[in-house]
Symmetry: C2
Subunit: 186 residues, 2 copies
Amino acid sequence: MEVPVSSEKILTGHFLQVCRDTVSLPDGKHTTREYVIHPGAVMIVALLDDGRVVLERQYRYPVHAVMIEFPAGKLDAGESSLACAQRELQEETGYTAREWARAGVLHPVISYSTEFIDIWFARGLTPGERRLDAGEFLDVFTATPAELLGWCGSGQVTDAKTLTGMLWLQNMLSGAWTLAWQPARL
Amino acid sequence: MEVPVSSEKILTGHFLQVCRDTVSLPDGKHTTREYVIHPGAVMIVALLDDGRVVLERQYRYPVHAVMIEFPAGKLDAGESSLACAQRELQEETGYTAREWARAGVLHPVISYSTEFIDIWFARGLTPGERRLDAGEFLDVFTATPAELLGWCGSGQVTDAKTLTGMLWLQNMLSGAWTLAWQPARL
């Protein structure tokens, strides 16, 4: 347990907000913790009727590489996790889904960010028009779960949220983990 | 592809370093990318002779929770990935290992950090003394792979690197993915 003593904003960027907190450690000493403030995000494992999943290829500047990812995006202010998942899937891939299930949550970087990513599954997909944000460039494609699993093992997929989605997909398809499906609220 | 035009350091923290780059987008327009500079890290999936794995419980201030994690740590300047894995496993858990295998790499946060985490497996473990850094507080414990998998499905494990380690552990144990073991260099 670390008890906050004080907090200051040390970066107000265009995109990143960083805080530095002084905290009291279990031994009573003080230290500082610096971390990115993040609104939270969602990721969508979208299942086509033939069993394929919807993926994206996107250039990611911090790692200077094109990454294979499940669709994902940040929560808008006041937006529910499910509403965000429905919006991001449609904006980035064009697909709408008849049924949704929240699998769980992941924390990508527990040492220096408040970010969480809610993991959603979607099925009953209907294709439609994409509506990418200005300055957003990404390719949408599909793969079988077996193909994606192979890419995770071979190192072609290294994005942690997508690797976590693969863990869910593998154990959901084997029947080891179950999902509680709900109709889409539109 | 995004081509860098210029770069400036916008935060020099005690712990976090943040850059803001101006980049040229595929449509020729300019935008900015802000990201944390990280030296890279390692994670260790350490297998005991009875099949159990070595885990840690650690309070993580940015998410205000005690997290279940595989041992992990940052590369020191000039340190090799394997040397870092051997050092971190011993410092945090006391264990040394006779054999090591590099499984792959994960990128925890491709939208705003350069961080990568090399994934190492270790076996042939011998217990020893821990040497925690000042201000480092963590509990070491062991679990069977089946127990850990259950915690990943139930939401008790949400750390993305540990979930990725579980994906590797599950597919290594099933024989689907193989590892190239090497003797420890001491």
